[in-house]
Subunit: 227 residues, 2 copies
Amino acid sequence: MQGSPQPTTSPAAYSATDRTVPTRAAHKASYDREVVHAILDEGYVCHLGFVRDGAPVVLPTLYARVGETLYVHGSTGSRPLRMAGQADPGLPVCLTVTHVDGLVLARSAFHHSINYRSVVVHGVAHDVTDPQEKLAVLDALVDHVVPGRAADARPANKRELAATAVLRLHLDEVSAKTRTGGVNDEPEDLALPHWAGVVPLRKGYDTPLPEPDLAPGTGVPDYLAAR
Amino acid sequence: MQGSPQPTTSPAAYSATDRTVPTRAAHKASYDREVVHAILDEGYVCHLGFVRDGAPVVLPTLYARVGETLYVHGSTGSRPLRMAGQADPGLPVCLTVTHVDGLVLARSAFHHSINYRSVVVHGVAHDVTDPQEKLAVLDALVDHVVPGRAADARPANKRELAATAVLRLHLDEVSAKTRTGGVNDEPEDLALPHWAGVVPLRKGYDTPLPEPDLAPGTGVPDYLAAR
């Protein structure tokens, strides 16, 4: 309504669009912001898709979420980042994040599956040019991969900021898709003598490997030891 | 040369093209078939990019390699698979596989990175319609995720084969990209009191969780126990 105040909080869910309503398995889809944010925040590598000379290109890249904005970054020489900088009014992209949680082994080959959680974001990416926003984004990217790390590293200088391109993508046309739980076999297959169940993926990190030339007395920081 | 016999073996490397030569970090790129095959064979989830109504779409999907062909599969109702079935002469796609191996923590925020191995395949995907090829592909997909499993599951029947769409993509325009090793800090940063090094990702699987209603006496098969 004209003259109405803007809502001060986002609605709890993203609006579904033709692109984000799946053609199948609609029960696996979610538009809930908390679900979407949790999947995005657990990862740090996305697959960024864009169109170049009419053909699709998909590249892995690092990302971070700040509120309702996703940032991806790379060298100013990389193709999507150059293209977005040159594109007006921005570069249409599709950014996808996927976590694989387990292998689902059914008694039938057909019902084999994987447990996963994914988020697909459609939108237009824009080049971030403001040095202050760029600096904040670089910190967010470092902290997104290793929370607490940005404060324990030498910040980017002017030369490094100039060599880094950052893209901004608003979370607007977004959906999550998840598969959890056990096996969905056909009733007539249940008596077959094949093992069925879920093989969970092991997640986490191994012991950090220090560089051989650390400054004397530099131990593993708490934010790493706690992982 | 006209009249020359075709080579009976593939050359050891894929030919580089404008799309597969990186604009930066060229030392990280490889066109070696063995390198590409090893990265593809270690994974089973790819990110498949295609163009819909002029905009990019990137979806996670399962894949398997058979020689110089990649197969992806899904429901006949899923968008890329329907589009490829309708497209003539096929659907331009970009298929990307990424393995994250470790977090690279540098003394400077700018030199933070990740160790990874990725493969990007450009090409045109075609619908597989021959039932025999489809059946072989489904076995390959199951065995790609869990080697040895296809022989220990009830094969797909006619109805299930009809409900499954399979895409074929030839490995022709392909490149791999890898980052390995330690930190690349600036010489003047080496004395800074920040921990630097690599945090390796833990890989593997946890104990398989059997369905509660397995046929009596069905134990964990050897091909799972050995993982």
